[in-house]
Amino acid sequence: MPVGKPGSRKVGRPARRKTTSRSPDLPTSRLRPSSRVAIALASLALLVLYLAPLWHVGLKAPQYPEGLGMYIWVNQITGEKPQDLNSINGLNHYIGMKPILPESFPELRLMPLAVAAAVAAGLLVALVARRKLLYAWAALFTAGSLVGLADFYRWGYQYGHELDPHAAIKIPGMSYQPPLLGSKQLLNFHATSWPALGGWVALLVLALLLALAVREWRGARARTG
């Protein structure tokens, strides 16, 4: 591991740029060029959602040391390994859970459109460069993300609770709702639920949008105030 000369760290700390170093002739209603670039890039980054899954649900059990898993994409649900979804459905029949059939989720038809709309909206915000449009988009994106998570929770709840009363394994009081985020023990399975690559990108974009919105808001306030 390379080690710098003693004291080398002390020198050359760059002078912090003032957060209000906006060019004085820029109207407060308009976005700074750097924000516009960031917004455009963030919007384009959302295209990753067509190439990478949003979410990963993993299952581990003594009988499945290698784990079973499924990926939720904007337009499909796939097994982590080719036969995993099949296997998960096979196991779920013991507790009377309905099979997870990708074609039964209307969301998988809507989400690709929503992502396309989000990318287009973001590019529009960057182009038009109106501050308020950024606020609106950030708000919509936040709302959309929360609705998505709520929908994911709803499905999880439904699958975990609406069980076939004729199932082989019935444990009074037991439901099998997977965790929304994090991990949970469900009988012999340790279930985990975390964003996958696409989900992390979406979350980063969300964080960036909120940060930009705050930055623009503070900048504008500093200018006017």
Binding site: E66, P82, Q83, N86, S87, G90, L91, Y94, A168, I169
Partner: protein, 652 residues
């Protein structure tokens, strides 16, 4: 008993000593026993370094072990029916045991040979010979299953077989018992017997075997074989004994001459002669059994062989005089040295391939047998290893210039230098070693590290189990100057010979499930909706599914006494390690063991009216015990209609 007890005491003493040493923080150098234990210990959940494929001998199987632990991993049925897997019992596998003599439920498996590319094991296939009714089998190493068996016509005792050429072009095979060639009714005592050396072509892509040609040879007993490497890659070698051509009491009558022969066959010359049409045709029937893309074994009966006579193809075959009744004929990694295992010899003769070529060039012949030139011994010998012990059989190589020969009578492994042919080390085996095996030790690039002794008797090495004791192998460390015994491990059948390769070569290529959607089996049922039961006269075909933890259908009615019921059971699982079994009360057959995505068929002929259960035999799940069903059997001519539940069945 005394021996056992004294060993136990030594063990206890060693243990105490090592405990004492570690307790007082003594030397870091481990003691002998502990050292060996550490070298073979594979912790629970850890993998072995090597796959070893041992012949199961008279079990007819190949048995797979992990090395260095000696843990049994799998039994692969090849030449014998194996009820545990339904092999030779299910409709899909029965044809694998067909021969020109009909269905044979057993054979004696001897010499496994891994397929090789550029002289190194490539992990694609394993070949093994059936000795009794001469056959060669090919096993697929992604599924660990027998995929093909070809019968070798005109041979008797397919012992010197199936030795693979440098790039798996051919598996070669000899005739251990001289017989009339081709077969005919003649006097045993006065009849002229012969043999054939067979060249079985291996398709480089599919591995499919075909009998290319056979070389007609004098009626000696051709024992073991090897194909050459590097400079000798075009040649294959067979030892022979009984050059006396005795027909009775061979133990003495075949041991009279000081020297027998190693037959050296140049296959390029033979191929040319075949291409030039210098063969004649014999018409002995033989079977060729293959598993199709649909997973079903089928037999083809063939009736034509291309036979080459030495006289019609000069330069194809020579005899190298070799003392005495030699067993092994082993080519070193450079392809230069050909080591004869002179079973009754007082030396180990090592021939030189380059000298052999020069002798052929110079026509240094001492005579000929049936038109085959016999080279002069002193013109081909590179050296004789003195004092090798009694009964040297078989030699493998470590790739570092040393050869290791199993010595049967004095029960030891003898290590000698290929530089000066002197013995440098020897170590006892327990007891009476037959073959030995160094991983890759018969190839151009030995892996080395260990030698496995494949022993013929075990006597007092294990807890006794009546008159028949366990078969046994032993593992030795050969990394140092001195060989060290590491481990005894029990084996099945008689472990004649073995092959081993690093686990990494095939570990990640293992098939986990058959993909159901891609199944080409004509009897597959891909979902529970498609199950059906069809009557065709006295045959009833039940197309069924199995998935944790039920069969569909699990009620079938309308079966009659004397029907042949074909249970075509598809395992719908697509999950690794979830086979289902299927067993039917009163079936004069075995179980089915059905891999995920696979379809297997069991035939049952019900004999008495009543209701009889079937069930899953492979503990598949928590509700495995519930995985069962019923067949209602009515008297012949009964009016009970054919009915079942599931699919379009009428039982709800």
């Amino acid at each position: 008993m005394t021996a056992i007890r004294s060993r136990a005491w030594t063990g206890a003493a060693l243990t105490l000593l090592s405990v004492g040493l570690s307790a007082c923080g003594g030397t870091s150098k481990p003691l002998g026993g502990t050292d060996a234990a550490a070298k073979v210990y594979v912790a629970p959940g850890q993998y072995d370094e090597l796959y070893a494929f041992l012949s199961g001998g008279f079990s007819g199987n190949v048995v797979v072990y992990g090395l260095p632990s000696g843990r049994l991993l799998q039994q692969i049925p090849v030449f014998s029916q194996y009820p545990e897997k339904g092999y030779g019992y299910s409709e899909e596998t029965k044809a694998m045991l067909n021969t020109s003599w009909g269905f044979l439920p057993w054979d004696d498996a001897h010499h496994p040979q891994l397929s090789i590319t550029n002289g190194t094991a490539d992990g694609r296939w394993l070949f093994i010979n059936g000795n009794n009714t001469p056959r060669i089998a090919r096993l697929d190493l992604t599924r660990f299953e027998t995929e093909e068996i070809i019968e070798i016509p005109n041979a008797a005792g397919g012992h010197g077989s199936p030795y693979i050429t440098e790039n798996s072009e051919y598996a070669v095979s000899g005739t251990r018992f001289a017989v009339p060639t081709p077969q005919e009714d003649m006097s045993v005592k006065d009849g002229k017997f012969g043999g054939v050396l067979s060249f079985v072509k291996i398709d480089p892509k599919s591995g499919r075997m075909s009998l290319a040609f056979q070389v007609h040879v004098p009626g000696f007993d051709y024992d073991l074989a090897r194909s050459g490497k590097g400079p000798s890659r075009d040649w294959s070698f067979w030892t022979s004994y009984n050059s006396e051509q005795a027909k009775t009491l061979l133990e003495a009558n075949a041991s009279q001459k000081d020297k027998d022969y190693i037959a050296a066959v140049n296959r390029k010359v033979a191929e040319q002669c075949v291409a030039q049409g210098k063969t004649k045709e014999w018409k002995t029937p033989y079977a060729h059994n293959t598993v199709g893309e649909d997973g079903i074994a089928r037999s083809e009966m063939l009736t034509s062989e291309k036979i080459l006579e030495a006289a019609d193809c000069p330069g194809m075959i020579y005899f190298l005089p070799t003392p005495k009744s030699p067993h092994g004929v082993d080519v070193d990694p450079t392809g230069e040295f050909i080591v004869g295992g002179g079973k009754l010899a007082t030396v180990i003769p090592v021939h030189s391939f380059s000298k052999m070529l020069k002798a052929i060039e110079a026509k240094a012949f001492e005579g000929e047998v049936d038109g085959i030139p016999v080279l002069k011994y002193d013109q081909v010998i590179a050296g004789e290893v003195q004092n090798p012990g009694l009964g040297p059989l078989h030699t493998e190589f470590d790739g570092k210039g040393f050869a290791y020969t199993s010595v049967f009578i004095t029960s030891e492994i003898v290590k000698f230098s290929l530089k000066d042919f002197t013995v440098v080390d020897r170590i006892p085996t327990y007891y009476s070693i037959g073959h030995l095996m160094i991983p890759g030790g018969d190839t151009e690039h030995p892996y080395g590290k260990y030698v496995v002794a494949l022993n013929k008797i075990t006597k007092d090495r294990y807890l006794p189990t009546g008159p028949e004791l366990t078969q046994s192998a032993q593992l030795y460390d050969i990394t140092g100057d001195k060989m060290k015994l590491l481990l005894d491990f029990p084996t099945t059948g008689e472990p004649h010979y073995a092959q081993a390769l690093p686990a990494s070569v095939i570990k990640d290529k293992q098939l986990k499930t058959y993909i159901l959607t891609e199944s080409k089996d004509p009897n597959v049922t891909k979902s529970e909706k498609e199950v059906k039961v069809v009557r065709q006269g006295a045959k009833v075909h039940a197309y069924m599914t199995a998935i944790r933890s039920h069969f569909v259908p699990d009620i079938i009615e309308g079966i009659q006494v004397g029907d042949s019921v074909f249970f075509h059971v598809t395992n719908l699982e697509q999950d690794w390690d979830v086979p289902h079994g299927f067993a039917m009360l009163g079936a004069r057959n075995a179980e089915l063991l059905i891999m995920p995505g696979q379809t297997r068929t069991l035939v049952w002929v019900p004999q008495r009216a009543g209701v009889y259960p079937f069930y899953c035999t492979d503990f598949c799940s928590a509700l495995h015990q519930e995985m069962q069903g019923y067949i209602r059997v009515s008297v012949k001519g009964s009016s009970v209609p054919l009915a079942w539940n599931g699919g379009a069945g009428t039982i709800k």
